[in-house]
Assembly symmetry: C2
Homo-oligomer: 260 residues x 2
């Protein structure tokens, strides 16, 4: 089942995506809901970010080749993380499918994509076990963890490198029926494939993170966990468009513009 959220004359409505149509619901996928009797063409509605995270969690270094690539660029030895230490991002940066990534005037040219799987938490939970951890996940969507590499290296925190307004495209919808092990992530810029990787070949998987996090943290419906990216990334410039596709979920597409 696919959950999207769309603009209905200025009001955000949840809807169930079926083929090329969307059926608005009363309620929310995080609580109770029922289908309305209407149906829109998907191409004719403006999709919103499928859900605003309550807390916006993000794994950093979570794929082996990405850790190695980052180390090479910094001239350091690769240092694979030994435990799943979660990080944070911020809602101000979220944009929906088709909305523009805006590079600030004073950013360098090192503004890069990172295609990521996003786990959406569906219920309040603490002390999850390896057996029940995935039952806390409502479904999965796609994120692009856009990053300004100069700021990422020079600042004390990731605030503007990762959370500048528009640097967190997410969508197009939440897919609830997902076989994690079969997923493949592809990133394209202007239609050219930049990377392809097995989405689930993470250093620490969704279960690892949820079990570790909920030893100390209560998770709530609407919390989200971005799972990190693999491999090298490349610069995006004004006029580009970037697509992150994850098989059986969908494709998140965003144009890139530089602030005038």
């Amino acid at each position: 089942m696919r959950w999207a959220r769309f603009d209905n004359n200025g009001t955000a409505l949840y809807g169930v995506v079926e083929g090329d149509t969307i059926i608005p619901v009363r309620g929310s996928p995080l609580a109770t809901w029922e289908r309305t009797g209407t149906r829109h063409k998907l191409a004719e509605v403006k999709l919103l970010v499928p859900l605003e995270p309550l807390t916006f969690y993000a794994c950093g270094m979570n794929y082996p080749e990405h850790v190695r690539e980052v180390a090479v660029k910094l001239g350091q030895e690769p240092n694979l993380p030994k435990q799943p230490d979660i990080g944070y991002r911020a809602n101000n940066a979220l944009i929906a499918h088709n909305e523009a990534i805006v590079i600030p005037k004073d950013a360098t040219d090192k503004v890069q994509y990172e295609g990521e799987l996003v786990a959406v938490i569906g219920r309040k939970c603490k002390h999850l076990t390896r057996d029940d951890a995935l039952t806390a996940v409502l479904g999965y969507t796609i994120g692009n963890d856009v990053s300004e590499r100069t700021w990422q290296r020079g600042d004390r925190t990731l605030w503007r490198a990762k959370n500048t307004d528009t640097f967190k495209p997410m969508g197009p919808w939440i897919e609830t029926d997902v076989d994690l092990e079969s997923l493949v992530t592809k990133v394209r810029v202007n239609g050219k494939q930049m990377i392809e990787f097995h989405t689930n070949h993470m250093i620490f998987g969704v279960v690892d993170f949820l079990v570790a996090m909920t030893k100390y943290l209560t998770l709530f419906p609407g919390d989200m966990v971005w799972m990190g990216t693999e491999g090298a990334t490349a610069d995006m410039k004004h006029g580009d468009f970037c697509e992150v596709e994850i098989s059986s979920i969908g494709t998140l597409r965003n144009p890139v513009v530089r602030e005038a």
Copy 2:
């Protein structure tokens, strides 16, 4: 004016604090509101966290003696930050005035207080200037940035060191009439004063942070910025109670228990 939020038979209501009473309002301090005709004794209501942050920002190293103390403990040279790089905390960790800080079973004894001023954002804003930055602030409350120092040093991020459930006491209320330059922060454990400092003698003040942040980030009503702490901190143990007082705002008091 003092804004508190309290439990009214399972519903959270905002109220205006006057002396030892609280007057419930319809609406919210972030939007429109009007006083109701009722009034409760403050001692007879259960105060809640005065507002759940939309995004929970926190300054790290923001007072000179604190930066020096941390460096000494790590055996490093103190390195004063050169620009206001903001960080993040998470709502799962918030507790209200009088609620218990719970030290997890497997935490070390190095669980320490950090008394902090908290700026509460009252309106949507970007590109604030030094002249108008403070007009974006609804008011100020008090935070205790409880930290497990062993995790803080050993983990790749601050996730459990700073965001374990109950590690972020905040309250008791939001004071809208504050002269920043006159504020004094005092921290007491079991009634004994541990530190006293001029609240506004930060490396980067509220104006510095809001101007820097809003160059790249949109702030929204309900966002909060914890402003950091000064000096050395000390361990808290089962049975202690910790108080953070900021003059003209109030006193945030929380007992400490260790998980059995």
